[in-house]
């Protein structure tokens, strides 16, 4: 593991126990569904059984008459007159005139018990006029396809486009024709991926209370308490400042908990039930049917390559459906797909397409795994055809600092070459392979987001520090932020406590998304700690009767800066803190920033598989993740991100998919049928942390959370091709598909 020896950090790079570890191994940590309040009601949601249907009548009177029912809501209980994404959120929260997908909420009930609420759903009379539906992205853009939501397209869509295209993106640079003409080999292919779900184990859950005065509170599992406060306020016609949102511990999110699904229903039910608190907990099948899966994709790629492996031109034309609303991540897919390659001629075209499926939410590096699957598969194929080592082809074309990226901006400090060199040096590359076994490699890329960030670092009376952050801790960010703050102050890791706080305690924060928590909250916390250090130096200077500039901070204490400043014994943080009440009051740092200086992260994965020629089952034999972390603040949790991302990618590549019947209804709505990887499917996941520090962060942090899900899809497809000679261009590579491909090969 490469460690940057130029920095002699005291704590950063060590692996202390996470501060919330004890709560989480004893069952004490409180998640969304673990809250109960006096007088609390229980909610249940009625959902459309049809993929697409006009709601001709809803009669809630029989449900309202059931003893114990305190509120029944329909679309009439939500705000009206919104536009843009607020309108889409409202439409998704409760269907208006038309139910747009199987599982779309139609009405909701709050009652004195879960059973009464469930029973009341059966008493809501809904009449539907079933309409034709569209599920597949390529079907949805056929000329004869019905228009699902006329008028949804934005200005980016050219006149005459298919009816369900709602957004179009196009970018590129260089002379594409000349690039292809200069190639020795030009190949193209169509690649398909199916929708998958984030698959967090904790279903969405909240306890909400809202009075007739428009003031409310909510306890909720979310990645972003401010984001959902704003969204709930918009859907319910409230003032955001009147809502106080407290994040619970969060049982996984992966992007799927950055938005709202049922939370406004709980608030609206509470308001209608006289302000009594309402608990709403989704079932697993509600999670799968009605919360954000990712998009499905149909992608065409064309690449030109010289005999020596130099890529001369690349063209991507992607279509993605993200459900019945705009928002498929086709733009991000295209930004990332060719990012590892230095290209003189590139063009990318993307279409965001509507279909009768749930509204897509972000899923770890949204879009990037699909784009990587298409591009990295084709590059592998072409390398094989030219008799070149696929790793060498990637090195030959690898982007470096100062190169123009495929999506426009010029790269700053990046670590792709270092990653590929570390792959080359790894022993997994020389492990022997047997019959029906093959090795695949692929690169991947994801950004790092800054965003609105507000943090407070308060010096405590005994010389420790309390850090308030607005980014929920999903994978160890309390630990990484505590390490950085303790490093900066020069105090112990255990002297710092990091709290994830509610919306009333800080300025607006973006969620834990975009691989930003350790980067942005961490950077703001370091700036805060430095502000507190400046103040402590000022207090010491006042005590000593010297200029503040003559004081510096070393190892947790103020000391005179050189012999000219005078001879004074160091004043420790604890000593300064003990007197702060009499020397000027509390000491804290509190920046409000839109964090800049983000550091994107490249990775490369190498996987060995064995393909069972009788069943088509693909077994992962060996798996290696190599990725640039910038600086690994807490290496164990960086490894955890790499391993978790890789395994989600393995699931996407081999098993996971949304399966729809001809009736447009989702057929696999429980974990038994929507099968995510289990322990016995997998080997250990080997990791190498490459560290090319990000100059935009005080300790060199890059975003590490998302890149890891990007390379597995193509890496595994490339390994299956190497093992069998068969190229699968449609995920997942489930046993029936692999077996069919093997039979077709003969």
């Amino acid at each position: 593991m490469a460690k940057d020896d130029t920095h002699a950090y005291r704590l950063i790079g060590t692996r202390p126990n996470r501060p919330d570890g004890l709560d989480k191994v004893t069952g004490r940590a409180r998640y969304g569904a673990d809250m109960a309040l006096p007088g609390m009601l229980h909610a249940a949601v009625l959902r459309s059984p049809h993929a697409h249907a006009r709601i001709t009548r809803i009669d809630t009177s029989r449900a309202e008459a059931l003893a114990g029912v305190k509120a029944v809501i329909t679309r009439a209980d939500l705000a009206t007159g919104q536009s843009g994404e607020d309108w889409n959120l409202t439409e998704n929260t409760l269907a208006g005139e038309v139910a747009l997908y199987d599982g779309h909420a139609v009405a909701a009930v709050a009652a004195t018990s879960k059973f009464i609420a469930q029973d009341a759903l059966a008493l809501i009379d809904v009449e539907y006029e079933v309409l034709p539906h569209l599920i597949d992205v390529d079907d949805a853009i056929r000329p004869d396809a019905i228009a699902l939501r006329p008028g949804s397209a934005d200005a980016s869509v050219p006149d005459g486009s298919p009816a369900n295209v709602v957004k179009q993106i196009e970018f590129g640079h260089g002379d594409l024709d000349a690039g292809f003409a200069a190639a020795d080999l030009v190949r193209e292919g169509r690649y398909l991926t199916e929708a998958t779900h984030q698959g967090y184990i904790e279903p969405h859950a909240c306890v909400a209370q809202l009075g007739a005065d428009g003031k409310g509170e909510m306890w909720v599992c979310t990645q972003g308490q401010w984001y959902i406060r704003k969204m709930c306020a918009a859907v319910l016609g409230l003032e955001a400042a009147q809502l106080r949102v407290t994040p619970s511990e969060i049982g996984g999110g992966f992007g799927g908990k950055t938005t709202i699904f049922a939370e406004p229903l709980a608030l609206a039910l509470s308001r209608k039930a006289g302000g009594r608190p309402v608990k709403l907990v989704m079932s697993r099948s509600e999670v799968l049917r009605a919360t954000g899966p990712t998009a499905s994709a149909s992608m065409d790629v064309k690449i030109g390559m010289k005999r020596d492996g130099t890529i001369t031109a690349a063209l991507c034309d992607f279509r993605m459906q993200g459900g019945a609303f705009p928002g498929a991540p086709v733009d991000m897919a295209l930004f990332c797909a060719l990012a590892p390659y230095k290209l003189d001629a590139v063009k990318c075209i993307g279409q965001d397409v509507l279909a009768n499926r749930p509204k897509a939410a972000a899923y770890r590096a949204p879009g990037a795994p699909m784009g990587a699957f298409a591009v990295e598969s084709l590059i592998d194929e072409m390398a094989q055809e030219l008799g070149l080592d696929p790793l060498e082809v990637r090195l030959k074309n690898a982007v470096r600092e100062g190169d123009k990226s495929s999506y426009g901006p010029t790269f700053g400090s990046i670590g792709l070459v270092e990653v590929l060199e570390a792959v080359k040096a790894h022993p997994n590359l020389s492990a022997p392979l047997g019959p029906n076994q093959g090795r695949g490699i692929a690169s991947g890329y994801w950004f790092n987001h800054g965003g609105e960030t507000s943090v407070t670092v308060a010096v405590s009376e005994d010389g420790g520090a309390t850090v308030s952050v607005g980014t929920p801790d999903i994978g160890g960010s309390r630990a990484s932020i505590a390490l950085m703050v303790a490093e900066t102050f020069g105090i112990g890791y255990d002297d710092v406590r990091v709290n994830v706080v509610e919306t009333g305690a800080l300025g607006v924060n973006e969620p834990t998304h975009g691989s930003r928590a350790t980067f942005a909250s961490g950077k703001a916390a370091v700036i805060s700690a430095k502000a507190a250090i400046s103040e402590m130096c000022r207090r010491a200077a006042a005590d000593w009767g010297i200029e503040p500039e003559a004081v510096e901070w070393i190892d947790g204490a103020a000391v005179p800066a050189g012999p000219n400043a005078g001879q004074f014994p160091p004043l420790t943080m604890a000593e300064i803190a003990a007197k702060m009440g009499e020397t000027g009051g509390p000491i804290s740092g509190h920046p409000e920033v839109t964090a800049e200086g983000v550091g994107a992260s490249f990775g490369a994965h190498v996987v060995d598989v064995e393909v069972d020629s009788e069943t088509g089952k693909v077994t992962i034999l060996r798996y290696l993740v190599v990725q640039d972390a910038g600086t690994a603040i807490h290496p164990a949790y960086v490894e955890g991100q790499y391993q978790g991302g890789a395994v989600q990618g393995i699931g996407w590549a081999l098993n996971e998919e949304y399966v729809y019947g001809r009736d447009g209804r989702l057929q696999n709505t429980v974990f038994l049928d929507y099968r995510i990887p289990v322990a016995s499917d997998l080997p250990m996941i080997d990791t190498v942390i490459v560290e090319v520090p990000n100059p935009g962060h005080p300790y060199g942090v890059r975003g590490v959370g998302e890149t890891g899900i990007t390379p597995p899809l193509p890496a595994i497809a490339n390994a299956v091709a190497a093992a069998t000679g068969v190229r699968l261009r449609h995920l997942p590579m489930s046993p029936p598909k692999v077996l069919a491909a093997l039979k077709a090969r003969g």
Partner: protein, 158 residues
């Protein structure tokens, strides 16, 4: 539907509660006894987040009715540590960073304890197959398997 009086032993303590005959043991533990450490991830016995021991047998509490707990001895995550003394599995999970979001952790700890109680020296493959009924979406299982193997070695005194 009228409720049924249930007496059981949970984590060594006698308990009584009134169960709706439709209620799962999981709901009774969480809603009537305040033992929210046991989690619901699916309600269909597929994810293992609600793993508990009933008379020593590892079960998904979502697949057991509350009324079936009558006279039974039940072990949950809240009973794993003895006061401040963590079980070696709990310590190993913290030491190995074997949890990220932590939601599956209680179920995996309870299931792992059941494994080590009957097989103190499991192979990696045995750990992986035993835990195949416990879904974790964050870790990729690597650090979980290592933590269980390490805790087993510690308990054996190896």
């Amino acid at each position: 539907m009228s409720k049924v009086h249930v007496s059981a032993t949970v984590n060594g303590d006698p308990v009584e509660f009134l169960a709706d005959p439709r209620e799962s043991l999981l709901d009774c533990l969480r809603d009537h006894l305040g033992l929210t450490g046991t989690k619901e991830g699916c309600g269909t016995g597929d994810c293992g987040a609600c793993s508990v021991l009933v008379d020593g047998t590892l079960l998904c509490a979502c697949l057991v009715l509350g009324v079936e707990a009558e006279g039974k001895t039940i072990g949950t995550i809240e009973g794993l540590a003895q006061g401040h003394e963590l079980h070696p599995l709990q310590r190993a999970f913290i030491d190995h960073a074997a949890l990220q979001c932590g939601f599956c952790t209680p179920g995996i700890l309870v299931a792992s304890k059941a494994l080590l109680d009957q097989n103190p020296d499991p192979t990696e493959e045995q750990v992986r197959f035993w835990l195949a009924g416990n879904l974790c979406r964050c870790t990729g299982y690597d650090k979980i398997v290592r933590a269980v193997m390490d805790a087993a070695a510690e308990i054996r005194g190896a």
